[in-house]
Every structure is written in structure tokens, then in C-alpha cells.
Symmetry: C2
Subunit: 407 residues, 2 copies
């Protein structure tokens, strides 16, 4: 009557999932719209930066020949605001009024700052009082030579790197596509928020949870819907979703009950990867391939769904996105207080962390440890692990912990 399942560790489950997939295909994308996507080509400077000799100050460009015997009186032959050029040779005795960031005439040797100038009584003349130590000119290629590596393959684009690419006029770039994820919440008991609640039914909270966790982790949600417990309908919909989604996440139906159709589908229709993980909450979490699409079937318990997202889904998303690190940072931490429940499985507790004065992460349980608890997910900033077979962990004992990305 009770099905026996083979268990694997959460690390093994994560490996099984991530080792069977690779990053998604590449797309050409407009740079300014590629935030958080992974660059799939190295990008080199198409020209030096700056590509012209750039004035560092508002002032007067002078030739080398004039740079002595101050005060000097020079003839102002032009004004060069930013974006304009003075293309004639600058002769001794001549100067151009030049603005910060403007192109310095080719044979100018120095910019004398505006502060060192005095109006002459004659129009188109200026008196420069004193020289300056520096040329105040940024030479061509001072920051980047042509061909310098700007960003390497694998870089995750952020505001700074988008700005850098833009400064070289690079408009489009090869990046790894964002994963399209389908969410399917299963359960005849589920009602969507905003609707009346018949007795015995519950509002669907896992779907909004997953939708927003996916948003935070920069995935694209292609479908988010719920289905009653029905083998044929669920199978049919899953097969349809495999045609449009890069990854399917389901909730519910993974246990060994009579209505746990997701567990049956995994065995009968799909290539089962695992259906029992040595962890609480979420031990019946199931992984499978269906029609060349990975399905991670999370438990319907909110705590298990949340924990499963961070321990299993997020690493898969990172792999699909071509990121070599997950958004969840594993750290060593110490228990801020005792937690002394025994368990045959590793227990992943929802907690909060703080950095002690000694630079240690102190972790503490937040709210209830029940997998059905809903009231602590929004307060959780870390997960930490009570290893199986122990009486728990006491205050000050070391534990493994994972700091969660929350924004």
C-alpha cells in the first residue's frame, strides 16, 4: 500500500538536475535591455577611450612654445564646446577657449584652467597668468586601447557594464536567453485569491510565491496556472507546457497519497530523476524529464515549496542562465540559540541571520518550523541545516547556512 522510494541527498538532487542541463541558447539583445543576462562573447574596445585628446578642464588650450614667461597674452581664435572640434593647426600666440570634455586641437600641449585667466582689454585676446604642472589633457587611449578586453564572456551585465558598452557605441550584444518558466499548481483544494472560499478549500499561496521568487531571480514566467487533481488533465497540460517552457515547476501532488498524480506522472509518463530527498521539509520533491523538458515538482506545503525553490530551482535557473554561481550564498554560521529536534532527514530551517561583532554569521529560526507554516516566509533571510541523525544543534555550534537573495 505504501510505496517505498529511494532517497538521495539534496546535494545529489541538485547535481542530478544541474548536470543534465546546460545554459539556454544565445540571443542578440539590445544592450540596455540585457540587465542581469550573461554575456556569451568577450567584448573588445572597438576604438581607444578616449578616442581624442580630451580636455580635463574649462580653460585655454596653448602650444608648447607659449608655455613660459607668464603672464602671457594670447589671441583667442576659437571656442570649442563639447562635441565641437577646432581642426586648424594651433599656432604659437594662439589659443582656443575649450570646455571640459572637448577635443583638444592636435598641436595644443596644455590646458590652462579658466581660473588662471584674466580678461585682456582687447577683444579676442586673453591673459593667462600662470602655467600648470599637468597638461590637463587626457591622451588618446588613456583608459582603454583599441582591442582591450572590456567584458569577458560569462560576465553578468549590470548597470555599470551596460554603461561601459554604451560608451563604445555598442548597441547589441550576444547574451544567454532568460529561461521561460511555467508554474503549474495542482490541487482540487486550490482557489485563487479574490474568489469566494468553499469549505475545505484553501487559497493558492504557492503560485504567487513562485511567481515572485522567479521575478526576483530574473526568470520569465510564461504560464502560471492551477489545475485540479486529475491525472489525464495534468498530464495533457504538462505535455503542452513542455512545448513552450524551458523549465516547469509544479506544486503539490508529489506525495504517496491517492490523489498525488504528479508522482504517478513522474513514473508513468516521464523519466524520473528522483522522488525522495533526504530533507525536511519537502522530502517527496520530485525531478523528472518530460518531452525533453525538466520538471521540478515541489511539495504543496508552503515551507517546502519555499525551501525547494532556493535549494533546487534557483541553482537550475542559474545553470540555464549560464551563471557560474547561484544567487544563494553558502556560508558557515553559528546557532544563535538551541534547536533540539531529532530527525532522520536533514532539516533545512527557515531563519534569519546577523553578522556578529566577531564577523560570524549567527542564524536563528524564524517563526514556525512546520512545513505548512506561511507566516515566516517573508521574514526568512537564510536557510540553515540541522544534519540528520543528530539531536539538533546547540547555541554556538556551527551549521551550514545559505544567505538568500531577497531583492
Amino acid at each position: 500500500m505504501i510505496e517505498k522510494r529511494n532517497t538521495i541527498s539534496v546535494e545529489q538532487a541538485r547535481e542530478v538536475l544541474c548536470n543534465q542541463i546546460t545554459h539556454l541558447p544565445v540571443e542578440r539583445k539590445i544592450v540596455t535591455e540585457a540587465l542581469n543576462q550573461v554575456l556569451q562573447e568577450p567584448v573588445f574596445a572597438p576604438f581607444p577611450a578616449p578616442y581624442f585628446r580630451r580636455s580635463g578642464y574649462d580653460g585655454f588650450a596653448i602650444t608648447e612654445a607659449d608655455d613660459g614667461n607668464y603672464p602671457i597674452r594670447l589671441h583667442v581664435v576659437a571656442e570649442v564646446p563639447c562635441g565641437k572640434t577646432y581642426d586648424k593647426p594651433l599656432n604659437p600666440g594662439e589659443t582656443v577657449r575649450i570646455m571640459t570634455g572637448a577635443k583638444v586641437p592636435d598641436n595644443a600641449a596644455k590646458i590652462i584652467m579658466l581660473e588662471q585667466s584674466r580678461n585682456a582689454d582687447k577683444e579676442n585676446e586673453i591673459i593667462l597668468i600662470n602655467t600648470q604642472k599637468s597638461s590637463n589633457i587626457t591622451e588618446i587611449g588613456a583608459e582603454f586601447a583599441k582591442g582591450d578586453l572590456l567584458l569577458d564572456r560569462g560576465h553578468i551585465l549590470n548597470a555599470g557594464s551596460i554603461s561601459l558598452l554604451s560608451s563604445f557605441g555598442i548597441h547589441e550584444v550576444q547574451v544567454i536567453k532568460k529561461p521561460k518558466v511555467a508554474i503549474l499548481s495542482t490541487g482540487s483544494e486550490l482557489i485563487s485569491a479574490g474568489n469566494p472560499l468553499p469549505d475545505g478549500k484553501i487559497y493558492n499561496s504557492n503560485q504567487p510565491l513562485l511567481e515572485n521568487l522567479l521575478k526576483v531571480h530574473h526568470a520569465e514566467i510564461c504560464v502560471a496556472e492551477q489545475l485540479p487533481d486529475n491525472y489525464e488533465d495534468t498530464k495533457k497540460r504538462l505535455l503542452e507546457l513542455t512545448e513552450i517552457a524551458d523549465l516547469i515547476i509544479t506544486t503539490g501532488g508529489v506525495s504517496v497519497g491517492d490523489y498525488d498524480f504528479m508522482a504517478d506522472i513522474a513514473k508513468q509518463e516521464a523519466e524520473l530523476l528522483f522522488n525522495k530527498i533526504q530533507m525536511r521539509p519537502g522530502s517527496p520533491t520530485t525531478g523528472m524529464w518530460l518531452n525533453q523538458t525538466l520538471i521540478i515538482a515541489l511539495s504543496g506545503n508552503p515551507g517546502a515549496c519555499f525551501t525547494g525553490f532556493y535549494l533546487l530551482v534557483e541553482p537550475v535557473l542559474a545553470t540555464l542562465m549560464g551563471k557560474d554561481t547561484t544567487a544563494t550564498t553558502k556560508v558557515r554560521a553559528k546557532m544563535a540559540s538551541d534547536y533540539t529536534k531529532n530527525n532522520g532527514y536533514d532539516r533545512f530551517l527557515r531563519g534569519t541571520y546577523r553578522l556578529s561583532d566577531e564577523g560570524e554569521y549567527l542564524v536563528d529560526l524564524v517563526g514556525s518550523d512546520m512545513s505548512s507554516a506561511l507566516g515566516n516566509l517573508h521574514l526568512t533571510t537564510c536557510l540553515f541545516k540541522i544534519p540528520r541523525g543528530q539531536v539538533g544543534k546547540f547555541k554556538g555550534e556551527e551549521v551550514e547556512a545559505w544567505l538568500l537573495s531577497s531583492k
Copy 2:
């Protein structure tokens, strides 16, 4: 010829900006679409959670009268999957087959797990082998009583709290609006990426920088455009933008040069808040009110634009959004190496940080300290301050630092 400006500290500038504004108006929003917005009402549980006695396991619900003299043989009168109910009284000698999460019949006292059952030879009968310590029933209100505070005013909605609200069927919620921000990059030298680059002009890199920093900080960009240096056009466009934006950020034109029209507009058309901050880079950064809209006019130098965003714009965004903390975390840090340039102004350097084994943040300069440098913005994970009037800071000396939110 040179205008003298009154200087204020960056802390004063931030205060001047943030003290003159308050959070934006409230809007009613669908909960699942309100990620990262601030709740403007406390939310109480509209019903207890769970609101029915919930079975913790797959098994058999029995009356108190039958809970003894195991093994017992009971008559299975119904099957209760999730979302269904058994509304008749459960009599001694009767049991219902019940699933995890389903509603327990009113006068059932305990759930005997499926593992403790054995098929009887007679149809509609079951043999239960042993009792269990726990009732395996989650009582009404075990997690939340009706009227309990779920989330307080001021809470920033995350995936967990959206899930929590959804579990109570709460579909809409009062939140503070997201700021609509207009970006206006000024400068006749600016060309957009993807276009040919005439001599002396440069590609606009500040606008993509600000656009993406704003995305990361959950603001809405209502306009992002560039204008040549022209007093009347810039003034006209700024006035138009004040009609649609909650905040305007400009770049360029804030210095004292002949084409720095933003500086002139601030004095002639607007209520000037400040136009000189004791900081490098970005000392001419200007704050003003124009037509009841706040304008932060950043320097056109990329480093100054980046630093100004974190030091001045981000705190303003947080205030407009009703957040009582900024996304930038101020910490005490130590210099990882020497930085020995003197300056009359506080210098905010772009750096990286790491946590030492002793739990101290060690900060180090990343790339060039020039305000015109572009090649380090994407690597910057912190800013740190070299106070004015010092010869710099030596390795191991304490500095103020700000860890930047980058995602």
C-alpha cells in the same frame, strides 16, 4: 568670471533633498503585482489559519471512542481528498480515509497514518494497527487567529509576504506608488549607441547607466532622452517633464562653463537647493525644485554620475517609495591598501569590499579614481570615503564605506 558657490556636505545635501519630500500617494494594487512596494496599511487575518481542522497526514480519521484496544477494525464511510468535506457526524466504529491537508470531520479526534493501516478482507473496512502520540490534526487558528496582524504598515512586499496575503484570499492592497522618474541627459556632444560618431562627440553612457540603476532600484522610468546644450530647449523640456515625473534626474551642464545651462536654469528658473557639494567626484551636483518637482542634476562625468546616484538619488527614491532604509548599507571598513591623495573635498572612491576572517569589511579602490573613468563602474561593489584635508588613508585605517545593492 568664475562664479563662487556655497558648499555643503554630502550628508547635508541628502538631508536637504529627503527632508523636503515625503512618500508618494497610495494606490490600490493587485497583491501579486506589488513586489517591492511598501504596504500603507496594516493587514489583519480575515479568518483564522487554518480555518478548518486540517489533517497533517494521509490516513484515517477516528473518533476518540475508538482510540484504544488496537488493532481496531473500522467501517470506512467516506474518502476525503483535499478540498472536499465529510459533513455528517463521524460515529464510533466509523472512519474516513483522509488526505494530507484535507478538512477533518468535526468529531474526529485523531488521524491514524496510512502506514499504521492494513487492508481488511471485507470491502469498506480497514484495520488500524496502532495509535499515535499526536492527533496529527492542525487545529483552527493554530498559525493565525482571526484579526492577527499579518503585515504591518511600512512592510516592503516580498515573495513571502505576497504569498501570505494570497493565502488569506487578499487580492488587492494599499501600497505606496512607485516613483516615475525622468532622465534627461544634456550635452551637444552626446550620441546614442548604434549611431555613427562624429569627431569630438561621445556616446551617451550615463543615460543607460541611470536607466539600469533605476530598474535595479524598482523605480519606473517615464522618460529617458538626451538634449543638446541649449538653455531654452532644456528649460522647456524640464517644465514639461515636471508635469509627468515624480523626480527628474539630469546629467551634465552643472559646472561653471559657458555651456552649463543646467546651472543657469537652477538659478534663474528654479528654487535652488544646492549647487556645490564638498565631494569628489561630482562637486557641482545640483539640487532644485522646478514647478513642484525635484530635480537632481548630476555631473556628466560617469564616475560622478554613478556616485551621485548612490549618495543622493537612491536615498530620494527610498523616501519617495516610503522605505525607511536605503538600499545602500553604510558600514565601517578598513583600507586594504594605501590611498594617499590629498583633497580639499571628501573623496568618494569606487571600490570593492570583502569580509576578512576577522569579520571586518576590507575596501579597496577598483580601477581608476578619475571621475571620467568608465571601466570600473561595473566592478564597483562599494563606495568609501577619504575625508577632506587628509593625506589619504593608509592600509588598515578605518574608513566609512557604503555597500551597494547591485541586483
